[in-house]
């Protein structure tokens, strides 16, 4: 098993720059998520780790060894694709055994390894079946089995659950994560689904337009986004943004929005111009006595909670409240924000201003 380090890695396809100078480290045994919208460079990054693409510049270390320009065959990693390809003319056992046979491993040893992997995946009873008649889940397990059986240094997975329907996906993501907890293998997983990333990952890298926007543990990224993009991409509904114009000195502890004062975590840097006040939906509280007013324009029932959208002087705000509270479109109420959780952003760069809240938590790429 392995640590993977990415240092200043860049990838160009002709004139198109897919990945700009990326730097981050995947520790041994981590379940690591590469998250971002389509076209952000996450799959290209994964393919460079695998050796399926070679970086234009920069270095990739697997267990301390620089492998950036080495082909996939010399890296000892296993790649699991979104569309899992199985050999249709072979049964389940032969599909799993194939990578070992092709290494010339003795038969008895192959059988032992295949049996062990089948037991881990819970597919011992279907080893003799043809792959043609298998359910989607079993096909996926076989594809995983073929990756696991080689006992590689790391697993790289490119949206392995992307094609599945919601219910089954939920089931497989739990299974994958439980498998990882049993085996402890370094796993790098590409997804565009923020919930999947939060749910499964020990750490997350968030990418956009080829740039690493943030890198860290899920809760830190959620609580203290380094950029406006991250604040919007992570969380459902995303963070609310209220635009304002101001000049804020270092040490500032409150800002004025539409005449109302709001406390914020003490700023550790000054800023002026167009700024953004960012607050997560669960930190917006409806309070009739609060001076900053909004009118309810929509409520969305979600079972335990409901999402309430309000029109406010500086833009729409969504909040999450218990669904037993009776709230109707057209109601007017006040909004309070939980001061300890506020992030301010520069509107021009999209970068979060350093504050007492996010200090230490922010790691730019």
């Amino acid at each position: 098993m392995a640590q993977i380090r990415i240092r200043n890695v860049r990838k160009d396809f002709g004139a198109f720059n897919a990945v700009k100078s990326s730097t981050f480290t995947i520790e041994d045994g981590e379940f690591f998520m590469l998250l971002g919208p389509s076209g952000c460079g996450k799959t290209t990054t994964l393919r460079m780790m695998a050796g399926l693409e070679l970086p234009t510049s920069g270095e990739i270390f697997i267990d301390g060894e620089e492998v950036g320009q080495k082909p996939a065959s010399q890296r000892d990693i296993a790649f699991v694709f979104q569309m899992f390809a199985l050999y249709p003319h072979m049964n389940v056992g032969r599909n799993i055994a194939y990578p070992l046979h092709s290494q010339g491993m003795p038969r008895a040893e192959v059988r032992r390894r295949v049996d062990e992997v089948a037991r881990i995946l819970g597919i011992s009873d279907i080893l003799d079946r043809p792959v043609g008649g298998l359910s989607g889940g079993d096909r996926q397990r076989v594809a995983l089995g073929r990756a696991i059986v080689r006992d590689p240094k790391a697993f790289l997975m490119d949206e392995p659950l992307g094609a599945l329907d919601a219910e089954f996906r939920e089931h497989m993501s739990l299974e994958l994560r439980a498998l990882h907890d049993r085996m402890g293998a370094t796993t790098v997983y590409v997804t565009h689904d923020q919930l999947e990333a939060m749910q499964m990952g020990d750490k997350i890298v968030v990418m956009n337009h080829g740039v690493v926007e943030q890198f860290g543990v899920p809760q830190d990224i959620y609580d203290w986004p380094a950029t406006r993009f991250v604040a919007q991409f992570i969380g459902s509904p995303p963070m609310n943004f209220l635009g304002f114009h101001g000049m804020l000195g270092k040490g500032t502890t409150s800002v004025t929005l539409d005449g109302a004062q709001f406390e914020v975590p003490a700023l550790q840097e000054g800023a002026h111009g167009d700024l953004i006040f960012g607050v997560r939906p669960e930190h917006v509280h409806l309070d009739d006595a609060a001076p900053y007013r909004g009118r309810v324009i929509a409520t969305e029932y979600l079972g335990t909670t409901q999402i309430v959208t309000l029109d406010t002087p500086l833009g729409p705000v969504k909040t999450r409240v218990a669904s037993h509270r009776a709230i109707r479109a057209g109601d007017t109420t006040g909004l309070r924000f939980d001061a300890r959780t506020i992030t301010l952003f520069s509107a021009e760069t999209g970068r979060a201003l350093q504050s007492h809240g996010n200090a230490g938590g922010l790691r730019h790429g």
Binding site: P37, S38, D165, A166, E167, E170, R177, D181, H192, D193, Q194, L195, M198, Q199, V217, P218, Q219, Y222, D223, Q232, F233, I234, G235, S236, P237, P238, R280, P281, E282, A298, E300, Y301, L302, G303, T304, I307, T309, R320, S323
Partner: protein, 331 residues
């Protein structure tokens, strides 16, 4: 604007019974979502109403008129498919105008331009109006195909997972838009999905389908708070409801075989010891994967909990659901 009525509608494809005596009323001006996994009969229901397939049994009426024998065009429905189908040689604008240029409708040009502009705005594709349809991304093509339905003013909109190919942000935006278009226009909309968020947030009524049978029909809140069966209870709620042997906790009624616990039906801090196996931090909340005498239980706790794997949490049921051996709810 019209009511749609299904009476004991059945449909088989060879030996497979896709729909089994479905009776359902889609009230005029309602937003009805059909929910169920792949193969439940959702798409078949839409296709029968649209006239793309014919029922083997039963009666379908739109606006109190029996539609047996009417062609899809005569039924005045607008259907959006999961797989977009656009005219590849036309621009986005021409694709959107197409339904309005039908010789039967004779819409004035100024009205066409206004409608197309309005719909393009809602679907966030105004900047692509003059592109060739083939020069769009998958998500954009899907929005155009939704747009082609919205420019019309049919008796009923039928939509088959129209948002499933879009990314999360756009899906969230369009959920709100579709809902408000429907609410403001008073249109009747029948919508198929396996995404429970879409069902809960947009629907005035949800129909739950299970292997071709309609097992529950009601408001999202009815369904969530008053499910008729294990199956219905498992359709809504994230994380999914925990279904456990009723005997695991004391106090179950005699006939109960299973107990159903949503996160809010699990009281933490008292009751039986359970072991924390995994802590999932989702940002606004944290999910706890618990083990109670070898039964897995998933519940929710506050975002910044100090609990860690290996800790013990006491839990007990609070106003749980009970189900009998067939999975039916015990009132």
């Amino acid at each position: 604007m019209a009511e749609v009525k299904l009476e004991q509608v059945g449909k088989s494809f060879g030996a497979t019974r896709a729909l089994d005596s479905v009776t359902m009323t889609v009230p005029d001006g309602s937003f009805v979502v059909l929910l169920g996994p792949t193969g439940a009969g959702k798409t078949t229901t839409l296709r029968l109403i649209a006239g793309l397939d014919l029922p083997d049994a039963g009666r379908i009426s739109i606006a109190a008129q029996d539609v047996a024998g009417l062609s899809p065009a005569q039924r005045d429905v607008a259907m959006v498919f999961q797989q977009y189908s656009l005219y590849p040689h036309l621009s986005v604008r021409q694709n959107l105008e197409f339904p309005l240029k039908s010789p039967i409708l004779r819409t004035p040009p100024a009205e066409i331009a206004r409608k197309v502009g309005e719909v393009a705005e809602i679907l966030q594709i105004t900047h692509k109006l003059d592109n060739k349809a083939t020069a769009l991304s998958g998500g954009e093509m899907q929005r155009v195909s939704i747009g082609r339905a919205l420019v019309r003013n049919p008796a009923v909109y039928l939509m088959d997972e129209p948002l499933s190919s879009l990314d999360a942000k756009l899906r969230a935006d369009l959920r709100v838009e579709l809902k408000s278009i429907q609410a403001n226009s008073g249109a009747t909309l029948l919508y198929v999905t396996h995404d429970q968020i879409e069902a809960m947030t947009m629907a005035t009524h949800v129909g739950v389908l299970d292997q071709g049978r309609l097992v529950q029909f009601g408001t999202p809140r009815d369904l969530y708070e008053n499910p008729v069966s294990v199956y219905a209870a498992s359709r809504l709620g994230q994380p999914r409801i925990n279904i456990l042997p009723a005997a695991l906790f004391g106090g179950a009624p005699d006939r109960a075989a299973q107990i159903g616990l949503r996160p809010e039906q699990i009281r933490q801090g008292e009751g039986e010891n359970s072991l924390v196996e995994r802590v999932e931090r989702l940002g606004d909340q944290t999910r706890l994967h618990l083990n109670l005498r070898d039964h897995p239980i998933v519940t929710v706790t506050n975002a910044h909990t100090d609990l860690r794997p290996g800790d013990i949490v006491k839990i007990r049921p609070q106003n749980p659901f009970y189900f009998d051996a067939t999975g039916a709810r015990i009132p």
